[in-house]
């Protein structure tokens, strides 16, 4: 008994459970319910209360078609309450002079491993790939997420307000993603975007084949057989559960986290976020989706999206891609600078993603590269279309486009004030608001968030 108590103390210290003696009973609301009916790692994110903010006389890139010059934007209670002319701001409004500056929506990255592959890169915290089975649909990226990753404040300083954190691409089914708001937090729950649907990471191509070379899948056809086997099981699981949930009679079927996630895809509740480089593989994945009756929300790393842009447009599938990365492996060989421009022209929801803790700091620059590359090649891309690559379109790919991703009345006050044109190499995010909370101010050191990891060792001048 003494030993058990000792263990208990250590455990409590380490994982912060309530101490013995405190109520451990389940909330009465959930008495006699299944675990399935209870909250599953719910978001505890809460908007910070902040005074209203008025940005005056800025160029506002709304991501809704208009670029407004000499315009004002008013935030109140975490919402954008007016755009354009603002006559009488409420008392207590913080006024920001936007003269010569630009306002965009907060940037959104559909593809990040910040927090699950944190800095410093150590094997101890290399938590992005559960590379133990080709199908690990049961794992959730949020359970790997370290909120003290010093890459988080760097991304915030780049104007990013929301990101989808994905498991890696070792597996056919890598697990669930989590959409997080980039705000200071002690635990991932405090960052989880309320209401954002889950995604499931699927991976085509070289990575699963390489990782599972000896046990399989070791070929592209092996990959496809693996996806189909997963969804065949999920169909059966879903039927069994849907029947039971309707009748609620007799013993419920056993829970299987892997199949729960895949059944969620079949029900349309969980979005497929599909790592897939090659055009021919995207065409096959669209057929797979048709076979099982689901939608692929977005392809990721779609190096060859431009080859099948018509198919993507028809399927209503977005493509999350880079501006100029390529050539680093065989499936990335046919990368072209005009990829984003060409698929935009073809009517695809085009998304600029980063997959990189460096790239996420400069998403505006990559959008600029791709916009100008398109224009130089005679593929017209407007500034509004290009800013949508990093705002409204990723919001759609994550299912949060009703809430954020544009500067318009009623949307969350997720916004960036840029020192100049965000499509210039010389411009910087000067202020970043996350639902009205000033989470970064380049001109005010007290508004430059540092994670626990930063303290006392990475700060300039500290401890040196």
């Amino acid at each position: 008994m003494r030993r058990i108590v000792a263990w208990g103390v250590i455990g409590l210290l380490e994982i912060g459970l309530p101490t013995p003696g405190q109520a451990q009973t389940v909330d009465d609301r959930f008495k006699d319910t299944l675990s399935l009916d209870r909250p599953q790692f719910p978001s505890t994110y809460r908007r910070r209360s902040n005074p209203p903010v008025l940005i005056r006389n800025a160029t506002v890139m709304t991501a809704t078609g208009a670029e407004l010059r000499g315009a004002s934007v008013l935030f109140q209670d975490g919402k954008i309450v007016s755009v354009g002319e603002v006559a009488n701001p409420p008392s207590g409004t913080v006024v920001v002079d936007g003269t010569g500056k630009f306002v965009t929506p907060g940037l959104i990255d559909t593809h990040s491993h910040v927090g699950v592959y944190p800095a410093p890169g150590t094997s101890a915290q290399s938590d992005g790939n559960e590379a133990t089975n080709p199908n690990t649909a049961e794992v959730w990226a949020e359970h790997s997420f370290w909120p003290h990753d010093p890459q988080i404040p760097l991304a915030i300083a780049g104007g990013v307000t929301t990101a989808q954190i994905l498991p890696g691409s070792a597996n056919l089914f890598g697990g669930r993603s989590v959409v997080v708001r980039l705000v200071p937090a002690r635990a991932v729950q405090e960052m989880k975007f309320p209401g954002a649907p889950y995604g499931v990471k699927m991976a085509c191509g070289e990575n699963p084949k390489r990782v599972y070379q000896s046990r399989g899948p070791s070929t592209a056809m092996g990959n496809m057989a693996g996806y189909r086997a997963g969804y065949i099981q999920a169909e059966e699981y879903r039927r069994r559960w849907d029947k039971w949930l309707k009748e609620r009679k007799g013993d419920p079927p056993g829970r299987d986290l892997k199949l729960e996630t895949l059944a969620g895809v079949l029900r349309g509740e969980i979005f497929v976020q599909n790592h897939c480089y090659r055009g021919d593989e995207m065409a096959q994945m669209l057929d797979l989706a048709q076979e099982f009756g689901f939608k692929i929300r977005s392809f990721h790393h779609g190096i060859e999206a431009y080859k099948v842009a018509d198919l993507l447009a028809k399927a209503g599938t977005a493509a999350s891609i880079w501006s100029d990365w390529g050539g680093f492996k065989m499936e990335a060989y046919d990368q072209i600078l005009e990829n984003l421009a060409l698929i935009t022209q073809a009517g695809v929801r085009a998304v600029l993603h980063t997959d990189s803790p460096d790239g996420i700091q400069r998403m505006n620059q990559d959008a600029a590269k791709a916009m100008y590359a398109g224009n130089r090649a005679g593929i017209p891309v407007t500034r509004d279309q290009a800013i949508r690559w990093v705002t409204a379109n990723p919001a759609w790919a994550l299912g949060i486009d009703q809430l954020t991703g544009t500067i318009e009345t009623g949307k969350m006050a997720d916004a960036v004030l840029w020192s100049g044109d965000p499509f210039s190499v010389y411009s910087k995010a000067e202020k970043v608001w996350n639902e009205g909370w000033l989470v970064f101010d380049r001109l005010d050191k007290s508004r430059q968030y540092k994670t626990d990891f930063n303290l006392g060792q990475t700060d300039p001048g500290v401890g040196r």
Binding site: P120, D310, W322, G327, F328, S424, R464
Partner: protein
């Protein structure tokens, strides 16, 4: 494509590094940034037989010269990438790289014999205005020697500028294995190698007779260290943590090496020591993510080193390739460096660091590597419109353009 360029398109496929006899080109009317002197409005650059013969505002165009009208354009020296890959295999494509060999003591490894002049990455580098690259071996501890090439030519010997150009040594975390698992071990092993190389050099006859004690590397490797130890070849030392930088400077002092630092993530903490040693530093301006190799990573590192008087060389390595070098320079400006200095960081200072006196500026007698830009070379809105290498107009058509044009309309024409 501007009309005045049309005559070039017909001959664009012809890429020849070695100058054709008697070829004279005058780039006229552009804003010229010679680097070696102040900006010249409506300036002229004259190239004859692969060399620059005149640069200035009131230059008479030689009769018979091909005139390239650069009115409204910006004219700079060709950019020099100090950590280039183009022509040395596909980065990351397993088994198709040419930049590393197994083992950790490879000073004799010179990647010149593995360069592919026809690699698709070579014209891509040119589209970013990069005319010259320091092709650098990759790997822990002593991965080999770098070579300098111009990015034009049908054969390696036509591309070659200098081989070997610099010994590469790596003191970062990745090299600890070579020292038995700790930094101090890496330094000790390096000192022993240097001592053995000098010993070998003093006692060659005894070595041949087998009457020296066992040396810590084969003779060919020790031999390859000697130009560096004699101070005739630069030594590029990758060092990120403050102690690694201090060790690199110490090695330079003790062995009288011509040190070029590379990486220098925590360089800002010891900027005055680096400046006092007169050592140039190759840096990536966007490197700000802390690691245990450099916890003090910060975005304004380039600026702080420059403020200390150090000659910084920019070399950004990312999957965007050499063409992204100009954006790295732009980011240095974004983070506080002056525009003029940033241009030096991709032209004259890399040339100086590698002892390439004929490169890096627009001045009479220099190699005619000249780029005509549509505007500010560091901006995304600008492009390299003409890239002259050794006085020859080079093609800016890449395989990417072939793919783009095939898929402009879907489904592609069959």
């Amino acid at each position: 494509m501007n009309r005045q360029w049309v005559f070039v398109a017909a001959t664009a496929a012809l890429v020849v590094a070695q100058p054709l006899a008697g070829q004279t080109i005058a780039v006229t009317g552009g804003t010229v940034f010679p680097v070696s002197g102040p900006k010249i409005d409506r300036g002229t650059v004259v190239m004859v037989n692969g060399k620059i013969t005149a640069v200035g505002a009131n230059i008479a165009v030689p009769s018979g010269a091909t005139i390239v009208d650069a009115t409204g354009k910006w004219v700079t020296p060709g950019l020099i990438h100090a950590g280039a890959n183009a022509g040395t295999g596909v980065a990351g494509l397993g088994g198709y790289g040419e930049r590393s060999v197994s083992g950790e003591v490879n000073p004799s490894f010179n990647l010149a014999d593995g360069i592919d002049p026809a690699a698709i990455t070579v014209p891509v580098a040119r589209t970013g205005g990069v005319t010259t690259g320091v092709l650098t071996p990759d790997g822990p501890f002593i991965p080999g020697t770098a070579v300098v090439v111009d990015f034009a030519g049908d054969r390696v010997d036509q591309m070659m500028v200098r081989s070997p150009a610099a010994l590469i040594i790596d003191l970062s975390d990745g090299s600890k294995g070579a020292g038995g698992g700790a930094r101090a071990g890496t330094i000790a092993r390096l000192k022993r190698l240097f001592a053995d190389a000098l010993e070998y050099d003093r006692r060659r006859l005894e070595y041949k007779r087998g009457s020296t004690q066992a040396l810590s590397a084969p003779a060919a490797e020790l031999e390859a260290l000697l130009p560096a130890l004699r101070g005739t070849m630069p030594v590029v030392i990758t060092a990120n943590r403050r102690i690694d930088i201090e060790n690199a400077l110490m090695l330079g002092r003790v062995y009288r090496l011509k040190v070029v630092l590379s990486g220098a993530i925590e360089g800002w903490q010891v900027a005055s020591a680096i400046a006092a040693a007169g050592v140039p530093v190759i840096m990536e301006p966007n490197r700000d993510i802390p690691s245990f190799d450099g916890l003090g990573a910060r975005l304004d590192n380039v600026t702080l080193l420059r403020q200390a008087g150090i000659r910084v060389v920019i070399a950004q390595g990312d999957a965007g390739g050499e063409r992204s070098l100009r954006y790295a320079a732009g980011n240095a400006v974004r983070n506080g460096t002056s525009w003029d200095d940033a241009l030096k960081m991709v032209t004259i200072w890399p040339a100086e660091a590698y002892g390439l006196s004929q490169y890096g500026s627009l001045a009479p007698g220099k190699v005619a590597n000249v780029v005509v830009w549509s505007g500010d070379p560091f901006e995304f809105s600008s492009a390299a419109e003409k890239v002259f290498i050794r006085g020859q107009d080079t093609s800016l058509r890449t395989r990417e353009h072939e793919l783009r044009d095939r898929y402009r309309t879907l489904p592609p024409p069959r």
